[in-house]
């Protein structure tokens, strides 16, 4: 059984489980699925700075912080006890494209060329961690949600604004990957 779980999971399994999170949270306690809101609650709890956007009763939304702490713990459990013993497989065309950009490590889920602690104080760290992170946090709040709140929860409830947001996420991602990223990799 444990060997079976250790294999990489099929997209349909993951999709069903993520989709079921929507009714689970609704029926557990009328909670609307959305993860980026946790970042706002963290600001409201830790650095409200008397900013009106952060002046609300974040304690009422504390379930969301329990949820993301759970996601972190789930990451620990899965990588410590359920990790895939076999080779990590990436589509060969993606490998070819990324090799052309200068990525050399394809052995793990994140390339160590970029996502290593040693890179924190380098240009790579500045772009991939600091600027990338700023855009994720700023953009999701400006858009009023992320992949969970808009693409999954919003589309599940047939919300047109969520469809517009999801299309915008994808357009941004395609633009970065195909237009901007080649220039970024030329910096290294």
């Amino acid at each position: 059984m444990i060997e079976f779980i250790k294999q990489p999971w099929h997209w349909a399994v993951a999709g069903v489980m993520i989709g079921l999170t929507v009714p689970t949270l609704l029926l557990m306690g009328n909670k609307i699925f959305g993860i980026s809101s946790s970042l706002r609650h963290l600001c409201a709890a830790c650095f409200p700075a008397n900013i009106e956007y952060f002046r609300y009763n974040w304690k009422k939304e504390i379930w969301n912080l329990f949820f993301v702490v759970g996601v972190l713990l789930g990451g620990i459990i899965a990588s410590q006890y359920l990790s895939n013993p076999n080779e990590f497989i990436i589509d060969e065309n993606t490998v070819k494209d990324l090799k052309a950009l200068g990525v050399t490590d394809f052995s793990a889920m994140m390339p160590s060329d970029i996502f290593s602690v040693e890179n924190i104080f380098t240009i790579k760290g500045l772009i991939f961690f600091v600027i990338g992170g700023l855009m994720v946090g700023f953009g999701t709040r400006y858009a009023g949600g992320c992949t969970s709140g808009h693409a999954i929860m919003g589309l599940s409830n047939l919300q047109l604004p969520s469809l517009i947001a999801t299309i915008s996420f994808m357009v941004g991602g395609f633009a970065m990957t195909h237009i901007i990223m080649p220039y970024i990799f030329k910096l290294f």
Binding site: R40, L134, Q159
Partner: protein, 164 residues
């Protein structure tokens, strides 16, 4: 300005996009069930390799169906679930009506969405996977998460300056 009033006058009003709509107060301990749901969610993120920067690159390069399969299936399952809850008026554990607020359109969904998309392709993560990546021992992502919190704060501090 109307929004200001709502935020200040009552904590019962809708303040965030992923709200707690339960009327009945919950004990602190009752929050642990959301921790459990989060743990399962985090395991799925890692085991289906959704936390992988490579899977996000495959998606934006249209070289793998994996992420489209995950998100597409999740939407279909979520959609059917929500429709069933509405059709059969299924109540929450506390016996309340399920209430899902409608989202209202503003241009933030386009501008903010584009900015998030740019960041998604660089970091290989939306906010959820950031937490699971850190849990998976990619400790550099602590910087990404701290930056995402800073980005959220910057939005909050200057939200009136951005076109909506």
């Amino acid at each position: 300005m109307i929004k200001t009033k709502i935020d200040n006058t009552s904590t019962e009003e809708f303040v965030c996009e992923a709200p707690n709509n339960q009327v009945k107060n919950e004990s602190f301990a009752s929050n642990f069930k959301y921790l459990i749901v989060g743990i399962i969610f985090g395991i799925v993120f890692v085991k289906a390799e959704i936390i992988s920067w490579f899977r996000i690159q495959e998606m934006f390069r249209l070289q793998s169906f994996h992420m489209y399969g995950v998100i597409g299936t999740a939407v279909v399952v979520g959609l059917i679930s929500v429709q069933l809850i509405k059709r059969f008026n299924i109540k929450t554990l506390a016996g309340e009506m399920v209430s899902i607020p409608d989202k209202t359109f503003d241009k933030g969904q386009i501008y903010g969405g584009l900015i998030f998309g740019l960041g998604w392709a660089i970091t290989g993560a939306c906010p959820g996977p950031l937490f699971a990546q850190i849990g998976s021992d990619f400790l550099a992502i602590i910087i990404t998460l701290a930056s995402a919190i800073a980005g959220t704060w910057l939005y909050g501090a200057f939200q009136n300056k951005f076109p909506k």
